[in-house]
């Protein structure tokens, strides 16, 4: 037993470490907190997807159940364009967000991908209100020589519902 399930996995001839996954997720978090959305978008492979499950989620596939977000690549692009516009009223002015990511686990490896999970806490401030979003990521990352990219970025909220004021106008 080499412990690779929890710590690292060999993919496409190179070894993915938890450290590398953590760096990727931390970098993503800072791009989002700084609203560097164009750079953030480059973290997706062409054709990548993004999902945010509803709070009653029990493992459903976003093609057969409702969700908060189930963006294909074009929709992620449209979302970025929208959020950069002054006319995205729900985010004008922007929310201030502060993301904490932990409990990063490499779940499994495929030929070209690695499945990871991580916990998140996102604090969001806007209009005098403070909101916390707690949940888990379950991502499928494409492993390339240069680094990692999202094939599927999935957030699973742990809350029972989105509280008053806690709409998801930003990226969870």
């Amino acid at each position: 037993m080499d412990g690779k399930k929890s710590k690292e996995s060999a993919v496409g001839g190179r070894t993915i470490t938890r450290h590398e996954v953590e760096d990727f997720l931390y970098r993503e978090a800072s791009l989002l907190d700084e609203w560097r959305l164009d750079e953030w978008f480059t973290l997706f492979e062409e054709g990548g997807r993004m999902e945010v499950a509803t709070t009653d989620w029990k493992g459903w596939d976003s093609a057969s159940a409702g969700s908060f977000m189930c963006d294909d690549y074009d929709l992620i692009k449209a979302r970025v364009k929208r959020l950069k516009s002054r006319k995205a009223h729900a985010e004008n002015p922007h929310s201030r967000t502060h993301r904490m990511i932990s409990n990063v686990i490499i779940l499994e490896q495929g030929d070209k991908t690695v499945w990871v999970s991580a916990n998140f806490i996102i604090h969001r401030y806007r209009d005098g209100g403070a909101y916390s979003y707690v949940g888990r990521y379950e991502h499928v990352l494409l492993v390339e020589d240069e680094g990692l990219r999202f094939r599927l970025r999935r957030s699973i909220p742990a809350m029972e519902a989105m509280d008053a004021g806690a709409r998801l106008s930003f990226i969870l």
Binding site: V52, A53, T54, T55, D56, W57, K58, W60, S62, A63, S64, A65, G66, S67, F68, M69, C70, D71, D72, D74, L75, A78, R79, K81, R82, S85, K87, A88, H89, A90, E91, D127, G129, E160, A161, M162, D163, A164, G165, A166, R167, L168, S169, L172
Partner: protein
């Protein structure tokens, strides 16, 4: 007569002046705790309320719990397949009986003193029942409390806490037809899917109703969404968009040129495969329903409001939205995707993706709506107890001249809001 702190009696919160073409709503209607309490008692206590759809609990024993108008409820299908709606409160000492949000069970057991009720409401076991006199009568008297009235139309289940409300169909009136149109889209019927959007907004429930019935805000508020539609090859227009007063506080917007409709009006972002299916689907509908009805269902988008808490968004795809007042400045919302039974998996996926991209707190459009009415809720504090009391009114007179001429109201006017408020004034303003 109830007096409000700002000196306006409840019955004069809505002011209409036909000569001056002026229609105003006093802003305490959105702010005041007293108004809110009046609404809970006069509307939520005495009107049919949308509870949920039968397909949320398809199998015997399925249940969901939810709160409506402040009352915890159990919405379940009993072992014989009947829909039951109970107050979620143990008849012994009042404990919330079922503390799960959903599940399947034959029995609900109260954890406090372990009384057990069947899913049809019978008290089937109580520990130490020898200490109660006349045990069978006692058990009968301690059945779970059913909500006084439960009726459904096309699978949409409504309840009333007042046993004396008129029949559901009387309440629905003309709105019933538009619910039926929606229910007939799929040859094998329609169903809700799991994945319910549960969220709350910091705004009065009536602002959520106004927003849904307000075509005037569409272009400015949803500028980025309209831009996205244009880029995907679909031009949105304001033409042929009308508002209808269905009576009883119910309202309807009928929108053509608004957006595509999956299986009915193709637009490029739906993809080529969907183009062919749209032709086939239209044929299927004509064969099944006749050309007239197929046309009515397919050719226009509709937003239906059923007073006081159901919104049916029959747009690119369908969403059922239920609103539930929590406080004068807070509203809970539940939203379900409503889909054709047995449709192909790729159509289901397209439908869900398309609808979720627009509606819901993570969509490309709804967050801006929520921003709008949360901003109203904050902004109307500015004029509370203003030096000039004339400032403390919201204006809803857009399109009144046209209305007086008897022309069909445009969705970009405020006629649908006026009909809502006229009805509201009749219900809440009554002492």
């Amino acid at each position: 007569m109830t007096q409000l702190t700002q000196g306006y009696p409840l019955s004069s919160l809505v002011k209409e002046d036909g000569e001056a073409l002026s229609f105003k709503v006093h802003r305490s209607a959105y702010r005041s705790q007293e108004v809110f309490q009046e609404e809970i008692s006069k509307i939520w206590g005495h009107t049919w309320l949308y509870l949920g759809h039968e397909t949320e609990i398809p199998k015997a024993g399925d249940f969901k719990t939810r709160t409506l108008g402040g009352r915890p409820l159990i919405f379940c299908r009993d072992s014989s397949g009947e829909i039951q709606v109970f107050l979620n409160s143990c008849t012994h000492r009042g404990t919330v009986l079922c503390r799960h949000s959903e599940g399947n069970t034959k029995f609900f057991q109260c954890f406090y003193h372990a009384w057990v009720f069947s899913n049809s409401g019978d008290l089937s076991a109580l520990p130490g029942d020898d200490a109660y006199v006349d045990v069978p009568e006692f058990r009968e008297a301690m059945r779970l409390r059913s909500v006084p009235r439960v009726q459904s139309h096309e699978g949409f289940v409504f309840i009333a806490f007042d046993p004396d409300v008129p029949d559901l169909m009387t309440h629905l009136g003309k709105a019933a037809h538009y619910m039926s149109l929606t229910a007939r889209i799929g040859p094998a019927g329609m169903e809700t899917v799991p994945g319910v959007q549960l969220y709350s907004v910091k705004g009065n429930w009536k602002l959520a109703v106004e927003n849904a019935m307000d075509g005037y805000h569409f272009a400015p508020t949803h500028n980025t969404f309209v831009g996205y539609l244009r880029e995907t090859g679909f031009a949105v227009t304001d033409d042929d968009q009308y508002a209808y007063d269905l009576g009883g506080g119910h309202g309807l917007l009928i929108l053509t040129g608004h957006n595509g409709r999956i299986g009915m009006v193709w637009e490029p972002r739906f993809g080529e495969a969907e183009k062919d299916r749209t032709v086939a689907k239209r044929q299927e509908m004509e064969d099944r329903l006749g050309p007239e009805l197929a046309k009515e269902i397919a050719d226009a988008s509709r937003i239906l409001f059923v007073f006081p808490n159901l919104l049916l968004f029959d747009l690119e795809a369908l969403t059922i939205r239920q609103i539930d007042p929590v406080a004068a400045d807070q509203t809970s919302v539940r939203a379900w995707q409503f889909v054709e039974v047995d449709e192909p998996a790729e159509v289901r996926a397209l439908r869900i993706k398309t609808m979720v991209s627009f509606v819901g707190p993570g969509g490309l459009a709804t967050p801006d709506d929520i921003e709008a009415y949360e901003a109203v809720q904050r902004g109307i504090e500015a004029t509370a107890n203003a030096a000039d009391p004339g400032f403390d009114w919201s204006d809803m007179s857009r399109g009144m001249a046209n209305e007086q001429k008897g022309n069909q109201g445009r969705s970009i006017d405020e006629g649908a809001m006026r009909s809502f408020w006229r009805h509201w004034a009749g219900v809440v303003g009554r002492d």
